[in-house]
């Protein structure tokens, strides 16, 4: 049962998700890796939506140059650990959600066990190797996750249900490198918002997830595409020769 306060707070959501859906969100546990540009938007929307338990992992500290896109942090929190800073913002947004702070970087040694404590993981981290590690770890743990990437005004998002849909390695093969450098805030916001929507859909069983396809868009040209993806039987992470 939702409390009167919850009914008031989530009135606009209830008309879409129903009480059952809202309760599913309250039971939900989501881990967001990285409280950067993508993580900022995802975390704020997850907290606002009433996801019951939200964990945020980040070992970095807030710098002034982050503030143009990492909207969960504020100028008065420069130097603070990003996971702690993000937790403060989420608590202010919605005191009804439980927030777990992991003020460190995750690794291939720590992430599989950590991911198993959650229903859904969002990749808001930087860098090719880290993103592949997150995919591999979630596949190994059997935990659904959303992969996000940004660059400039471009962003792309896909969701993987391990063992059932393509993982990041299936999608990108053996990438020789990534396109990176700098990103404008709106691209991060779009990616993080889509990732939050994926988590909400997964937790409530509503809608169609971005599985078996990669949504990619360029805010500079306003062109977007849905790239179909297939599981790779030879995938070293999730294929027949992989860990699944």
């Amino acid at each position: 049962m939702l409390s009167e306060e919850e009914r008031e707070r989530y009135a606009r959501s209830l008309s879409i998700l129903g009480e059952e859906g809202q309760q599913a969100l309250r039971r939900g546990r989501v881990l967001v890796i990285g409280a950067g540009g993508v993580g900022s938007a995802a975390l704020l929307y997850l907290a606002a939506a009433g996801v019951g338990t939200i964990a945020v992992a980040d070992g970095d500290r807030v710098e002034r140059s982050n503030l143009q896109r990492q909207i969960i942090h504020t100028a008065d929190r420069l130097g603070e650990n990003k996971a702690r800073s993000a937790a403060r913002a989420m608590a202010a947004r919605n005191p009804g959600v439980q927030i777990r702070v992991i003020p460190e970087y995750v690794s291939s040694q720590t992430l599989p066990a950590l991911a198993r404590r959650y229903d859904f993981v969002i990749d808001g981290a930087d860098g090719l190797e880290t993103k592949l590690m997150i995919s591999d770890s979630c596949v190994a743990a059997g935990v659904p996750f959303c992969h996000c990437g940004t660059q400039g005004l471009r962003f792309q998002v896909m969701t993987c249900l391990p063992g059932r849909s393509p993982c990041v390695r299936c999608a990108f093969g053996h990438p020789a490198g990534s396109v990176s450098g700098s990103t404008l805030g709106p691209a991060c916001g779009c990616a993080g918002s889509v990732a939050a929507a994926e988590a909400i859909k997964y937790l409530t069983g509503r809608g169609e997830l971005l599985t078996g396809r990669l949504f990619t868009a360029d805010l500079m040209t306003m062109e977007s595409r849905m790239v179909p993806l297939r599981r790779d039987p030879g995938c070293p992470a999730c294929g027949a020769s992989g860990q699944q």
């Binding site: 540009g37 090719l128 660059q151 020789a176 990534s178 396109v179 990176s180 990669l214 790779d232």
Partner: protein, 67 residues
């Protein structure tokens, strides 16, 4: 030869390998570009030997590494 590139139909006067297509279209950052043909990744070492076929569906992707 007619193929679909990023969802749009395109016609080319002769058959092309993946590498020839990339050069013809002046694909940028070729070293990190990812090419899917009919939803399958074509590794860089197979670009010169993979001949595109009539009706193939090609997608050009990049791994976006920022957040």
């Amino acid at each position: 030869m007619e193929i679909t590139v990023d969802g749009e139909r395109k016609t080319y006067p002769r058959p092309l390998t993946v590498q020839e297509w990339m050069d013809l279209e002046q694909v940028r950052n070729q070293e990190v570009a990812i090419i899917h043909v009919n939803d399958r990744d074509i590794p860089p070492d197979r670009r010169k030997s993979t001949l595109l076929q009539e009706g193939d569906r090609l997608q050009l992707l990049y791994f976006l590494g920022d957040s």
